[in-house]
């Protein structure tokens, strides 16, 4: 079972992970964290191939995917 966790304390809603994901697993949501940033959310977990791109490109180390 693949797990994608977004750390709402660290995420700044930059959406880079959303843009880089090759399978459109993520989308910017309407969830606002305590700092006022709109967090990404998982909308298509089944499409995730665990390529780990979202983890690699995140400027805040705020997203994690269970590894292969």
């Amino acid at each position: 079972m693949i797990e994608i966790v977004i750390n709402s304390d660290y995420c700044k809603g930059c959406s880079i992970c959303v843009a880089f994901c090759p399978r459109k697993v993520l989308q910017t949501s309407n969830h606002i964290n305590s700092k006022g940033f709109m967090l990404p959310e998982v909308v298509n977990l089944d499409a995730c191939t665990q390529c780990m791109l979202c983890e690699i490109v995140c400027p805040d180390l705020a997203i994690a995917v269970t590894g292969k």
Partner: protein, 273 residues
Amino acid sequence: MLKHPMLKYIREEGPAGKRLPFILCPGCGAGQVLNYTLHAVDEIINQPGVKKEDFVFISGIGCSSRLTSHYLNFDSGWTLHGRALPVATGVLLANPKLKVIVFTGDGDAAAIGGNHFIHAFRRNINITVICVNNGLYGMTGGQVAPTTQPFTITPTTPYGNVEEAFDLCKLATVAGASYVSRWTTAHPFQTIKAIKKGIANKGASFIEILSQCPVHEHKTPVEMINALKGMTVSIDKSMNSNKIPVGEFHFAPRPEWTERYEAIIEKCNERIS
């Protein structure tokens, strides 16, 4: 909670409180460069014979230099504006076995640090210089930098920049760096590979990473990353293109400073005994 794998190299908090989230702006390219660097270091640390305590991070002053400040779970020094390279040189003089990685920015390295830039590469001292180039002075408000394109409007060039920009990779190559490459934040895997090669190179390595400053350019991070991808082209295809070439420009290992000096120490001690 499942955590980002690179957080094991970060000091998330200490007795005086939390240190994260990073002080960097949302979508800052410097944060991505930190992520890429930690990925590269992580791969090297897992090689046999490599010790985590041998890694030392030195930075100057600026947004990219904040990457050391107080975040890293490594030996680090957040030093003076433009002077990361001489401090890194001093570290190696005291202990040449350390793996010294320098975070610097375009203003830090090429303006105030310009002199040290050319000499560190001339000496081919064993450091890996990671230069986050966003074409301006981020920390102080977006002023013009030696890497800003002509005609750009910035807080100190309100009528347009009248100067040409440095090509930092050319500068590093001519100064004498033994490994020079340029990538952008839009090229994560290539950047990680380049940083690994830079660390492995016994000599002065220069890795320039074109990076976005969304706040001072008034664009979204994603827009800027797409632009970085669009404005660059791989070196082998750059002949007939106006785009910025990216890739490995120069790789010519040559005698490293501490190696040459080691020969002197050996010789001196020979004569004494």
